[in-house]
Amino acid sequence: MSDEQEFERRLRFWAILVVAVFALLWGRLAQLQLVQGEEFARRAESNRLRLLRTGAPRGLFYDRWGRVLVSNRSSFAVVIWPDSLGPDREAVLARLAQLIQVPVQQIQELLQAGSALPFSPVMIKTDLDPATVTALQEQRQDLPGVVVQEMPRRYYPYGSLAAHLIGYMGAISPDELREWQDQGYVGTDWVGKDGLERQYEHVLHGQSGGEQVEVDAWQRPAQILGDLPPVPGENLWLTIDLPVQMAAEEALRDEIARLDRARPKVAHTGVAIALDPRSGAILALASQPAYDPNILTNGPNRGEYYQSLVQPPSALINRALRGLYPPGSTFKPVTAIAALMTGKTTPEEEFYADDIGPYGKKDWTLNSGLPPHGWVNLARALAVSCNDYFWEMGGRVGVDALAEYARLLGFGQPTQIDLFPGDLAGNVPDRAYKARLYPNGPAWQRLWYPAETLDFAIGQGYLTATPLQVAQLYELIANRGRVYRPYVVQGLLDANHQLVSETKPQLLREVNLPDAVWEAVEKGLEQTLQPGGTAAGSFYKAPYLAAGKTGTAEVAGSDAHGWFAAYAPVGAPEIVVTVLVEHGLGGSAAAAPIGRKMLDAYFAERKDPPPLPTWLRDTTGSATEGRKLDTPGEHPQT
């Protein structure tokens, strides 16, 4: 074979190689572009197209006169699209870590935890300061996959004021997400966790909109392809009266601080409630200790803060709705009504109180070194809070009738307030209850004893109630038998502040008793606040006529709780207040002054009304009737 032929042979071999190589490349092209072309086209689309959620602005809270209680403020967050970090992932994360002052380790962990869903951003840090936002924007060319996103945050301008009523927000939980995802919720949503934020979550949340955006490899929008504007959440127009709420919070705080100094070993807590007896509208609802929803919602250390709040006395509990206490002497009007209705006494009957009751029980007078109450009638017994008298009445009425009247007047059942997490029922004891208490006990233990009736008659023993139930009792007395369902939301307003729905007062109960009964009880409550009564000191020279009752509920082994409940003005009541100071030692000293301050705040505002925002001036309908400042409400009975 010649060299020439040999070379030809080699070239032929080479030509075959070239053809084979081209055939392979061409085949691969056919595979990618023709066979798998549609699949790759889809993936190119998912690279390019982003459905950016535009969160709806959350509804605001207004007080009854249109003052903003809860609002939103703008803030910036940095998120990472993990699929877009690019090949220099480590360098990008290191750069980002330095800019936002978060350890790389922590960012890695967040990415690890958040990358369960493909093509979804992972929140890295919220509430960036403006300098960081600027720095991130400037360097975004070097930060592929890192996006600064506007994210409105909840703002509670009054801090812990009415915290339990307002509530707070937090990241949606897996359970909530499962339940609500049909309604458009996603994993990065924040939702209400307590109070109204929770109760009205679906109203406040609105419908998030979406923008279909074409983005480049750095997730920067190149152009907007479609736009669905968000539907803002509805605003809550509350029944809360800001000055009354503030007065309640401040007075409670001062009193608790004073008690903490005087009795440092006892944990002091407190509740103050004000409501409008004409409708059941809650004017103020304070429970202390409280939390700052700003920290709990937005704080960088909210987890630790939450843990600290769980420690006793738990600041997370709304004691107004879920604290169960013996109502003490604030219960005495029930015993009085039961005694009058069963014919066991008359308003006029004079009873000599030597203040030593059956079984040698001593009244508080003797325990405090005071002389006994002496001759008292029903009104006087209420005014001076004579236990001896009500022991006597309890004995005459008996546990069965007493329990019946306690239930009739509202104890032992929830008030149905429209507020998460709802209120407790409390306990009205009777013979059956005692048997239930010791299901397997010996017969003597399951028996109801007359001495237990005596405790019941003065609001002690097995009887428990929430502060809201006590407030409702005084609403019932003020209204002469009518009780409305308590509510805190007067109406829902759309984004333009048009009233979209309103709460109409809802009569829960109507107890028809003879006028003489109401008059006798009211007389006693009125005298309580007059010279000689147990709350006289706190109501010295009050510019309005109020009626009320103090209470001192004994607690085994600790300081007694102080109670106070009242309404005003007598004759045409507009406001009921109820105050509880846990371990406050006494109702007269600890609770009544707080009630006085709340009533003062209410009547001061009534005299000097605040300017109304336009939307409230224009709001008409039954929801605003009786709420206009120029037409102070009439007593519904007259």
């Binding site: 490349l25 092209l29 572009q33 790759f40 993936r43 390019r48 993990p82 699929d83 060319q141």
Partner: protein, 377 residues
């Protein structure tokens, strides 16, 4: 000098395919860069105009390479070889100083010595093989490998694995054309692959070989399973395959590829320009471009065939090997069947050194082809 007659022997198919490829390159570079590039703010025509200038310079250089009869070149091969080594060492030295890549910078002008080094290697090796054809014993293969070793080592030290692959391709192609026994070359390739596989395995399992970092090996091997690490080592391959695949039959249209225009595709005007063609012009476009390359390489082989002497045949074989290796490694990379090594697609990728070198290569081919007949005076 050139005889008028010789011009008639110019292969117009070869020249035409080159011109067409350069034209396609200019068009695709425009499409890839008219919106600007990540981090670079220049006018829409910046890259096209620069590439066009290099095409003109390259055309002149290629024409110049035609002028001097290739048979006169071997006498300069020693000097060229020394210059090549000096340039490659200069790159390493400048890396030490500035930490730069495979570039030598002269003010605003950048230059990659490894590009012309390939052609110098072709000329030097062709000259040697003309005198010492490796058609008999295994020992004859030793010297060519020794000639190849210094530049290969210098290039691997940069490290520029892609260009090293091209050097290997040129070496093998020329040895084969010059008469080496295919099974010997096969044995060399086989043992080379074996060494590479073992080295890669060791590096990936924690053995420090000092020469390469594990991440370099990972990046190199990412094409085997890009989804193992889709946001890092596999990113380029995945984005490129998405770009090519999503072009489907007819493409998304010129200037309208989302992978390209929205910067998902890395190095879109240089190493991954074939992906731009795939995305915007579809299977029809890639087939046409592959067709042009097939024409070019086929005609290049033709030059080797018609060369009047072994020197010309060797040179043509070397340039053909260079084109073929570049094409396979680059296109294979964009299609996810070759490692991501970062070498340009001849005539099409943006880059002056590369275009100039390839046009010079065409000059060499035409020089050989034009002088295929003995000219009698």
């Amino acid at each position: 000098m050139i005889e008028r007659r010789q011009l008639r022997y110019l292969d117009w198919y070869l020249l035409g395919s080159v011109l067409a490829l350069v034209g396609v390159g200019l068009l695709m570079i425009y499409s890839a860069t008219y919106r600007g590039l990540p981090g670079i703010r220049v006018g829409p025509y910046y890259f096209v105009v620069r590439q066009l200038s290099w095409a003109i310079i390259g055309g002149i250089a290629g024409a110049a390479a035609l002028v001097v009869d290739y048979r006169r070149w071997p006498r300069w091969s020693r000097g060229l070889y020394v210059i090549m080594l000096l340039l490659l060492m200069a790159v390493l030295a400048s890396q030490k100083i500035s930490g730069a890549s495979s570039w030598l910078r002269f003010g605003a002008l950048g230059f990659q010595p490894s590009e012309p080094a390939k052609l110098i290697f072709v000329v030097v090796l062709a000259s040697y093989l003309e005198k010492n054809p490796p058609d008999d014993t295994a020992r004859e293969l030793v010297a060519p490998f020794l000639i190849a070793a210094p530049p290969l080592v210098l290039i691997l030290l940069q490290p520029d694995f892609g260009t090293a692959l091209v050097f290997a391709g040129i070496l093998l192609g020329m040895l084969f054309a010059a008469g080496a026994k295919p099974w010997r070359l096969g044995a060399v390739v086989g043992s080379g692959v074996l060494v590479g596989v073992v080295a890669a395995y060791l590096v990936l399992h924690g053995v420090d070989l000092k020469v390469v970092h594990p991440y370099q090996v990972q990046r190199l091997l990412a094409f085997l399973n890009p989804y193992h690490d889709p946001t890092r080592s596999g990113y380029n391959v995945i984005q490129s395959m998405i770009a090519v695949g999503s072009g489907q039959l007819t493409g998304k249209g010129l200037f309208a590829g989302s992978q390209t225009q929205l910067s998902f595709l890395p190095a879109r005007h240089t190493d991954f320009i074939f992906s731009v063609i795939g995305e915007e012009l579809g299977f029809l476009g890639t087939t046409a471009v592959l067709g042009l390359f097939f024409l070019l390489i086929w005609r290049s082989l033709g030059v080797a065939r018609v060369a009047k002497d072994p020197l010309g045949a060797n040179m043509a074989a070397g340039v053909t090997s260079m084109f073929l290796t570049h094409l396979v490694v680059n296109v294979g990379m964009t299609l996810g069947v070759m490692p991501v090594t970062g070498i340009p697609l001849p005539f099409i990728s943006y880059g002056g050194s590369s275009l100039l070198t390839n046009l010079l290569g065409v000059g060499i081919l035409l020089n050989v082809q034009m002088r295929r007949l003995k000219i009698l005076f």
